[in-house]
């Protein structure tokens, strides 16, 4: 197939998500409920994909926990969203909203943006779309991506 899950660095995504969890007030507490948490959902996606060796989890995008109203800050999630940009294989016409990379990105976007973004196939265009809704996040993402390039 065009892209295999083995080609995606799931560990790099997991590391970024773990950082968000470590900064969460509910971390390691009884109130931590991954199935009701956007970051918990993203981590479950990665774990499921690794176990099942799936790049695409049909229908998973419908299970996104829309009722997670915890406060998230752009500084918290920019690193993880930037990692999804790095891991994205620019499938363009083959893009699936149920791709594990898209699922993680969508979950994290939902933490900050009013509307999720259909990934336009290039990081540059993606940043332009993020900027329309959240200039601060776009700026942080650009900085994170520059860090990776340098």
């Amino acid at each position: 197939m065009a892209v295999k899950v083995e080609e995606i660095n799931l560990a790099a995504l997991e590391t970024q998500l773990d950082r968000i969890c470590q900064g969460c007030d509910l971390y390691n507490s009884a109130g931590c409920n991954p199935s009701q948490c956007l970051v918990g959902f993203a981590r479950k996606v990665l774990s499921f994909a690794a176990q099942k060796k799936l790049l695409d989890i049909p229908g998973a995008s419908r299970l996104l926990p829309a009722q997670d109203f915890k406060p998230y800050y752009p500084e918290q999630v920019a690193g993880a969203i930037a990692e999804t940009c790095r891991q994205c294989r620019q499938c363009r016409d083959n893009h699936s909203p149920d791709c594990v990379v898209a699922l993680v990105r969508t979950a994290l976007e939902s933490a900050l943006l009013q509307e999720t973004i259909d990934y336009p196939g290039s990081t540059f265009l993606y940043l332009a779309r993020v900027k329309e809704q959240h200039p601060r996040l776009a700026s942080l993402l650009a900085r994170e991506l520059q860090k990776a390039d340098s």
Partner: protein, 240 residues
Amino acid sequence: MGEGYFKQRNGLIAVDIMAACGVMTPEQWAGLGQAARENNVFRLKMTARQTVVVLLPEENVEKLVAALEPLGLKVAPFGKVVRPVKACPGNQDLCPRAIADALGLGIAIQEKCVGQEVPKDFKIAVAGCPRGCTEPQCADFGARASGQNRFDVFIGGRGSTVKPVHGVPLARKVTAGQVMQLLDFVLERYRNLAQPHERLCQTLARVGENQFQPPAELLAAPEEEASEFARFLQGGGGGN
């Protein structure tokens, strides 16, 4: 059922030969080439339907056709039948862009349906990614991959003639197995509803798309992975 023999203006006979959706082994190509040399074949022509037309003198036709069976090749059916299936090379081995096994599905459809009688020629196309190289929306029945073992299905397309028509969506994100069931359903409805010599796009225009609405069970979303993931999401492991 008619077969693909056509007398040409120059007196030669064109024989239309089909393989597994246009894919041949080296042995098949070499064997066909050998049979062509031995039978005074003038030219071989690859067709838009992924068949090979062989042009040869009438007296050599029988011998050439006899050489096809040992090679696993056949004369294609022609006329008011399901025609050879056009499928892209979309599978794990042959196309880097494929997201589902279009070639496997195309071959399975061809093995099951080719030559079945219908009111007018019935063309099928299968594509392994949304680029749709085999133009599934220009076929009477088209399947276009939309995910791993997921296909969108279109019916009523017609690529040729002076009035080309794009097919209308029949189903989204169904499995290869569901595509086969939907094809059976569409063929049955077409046979029941079409007037003689009426192409599917014309039948659709006359009776309406609702007459081809498949029963719910044929469209039921294949939820195995989603259900399993939903259980996984509620259960232990992962998360913080």
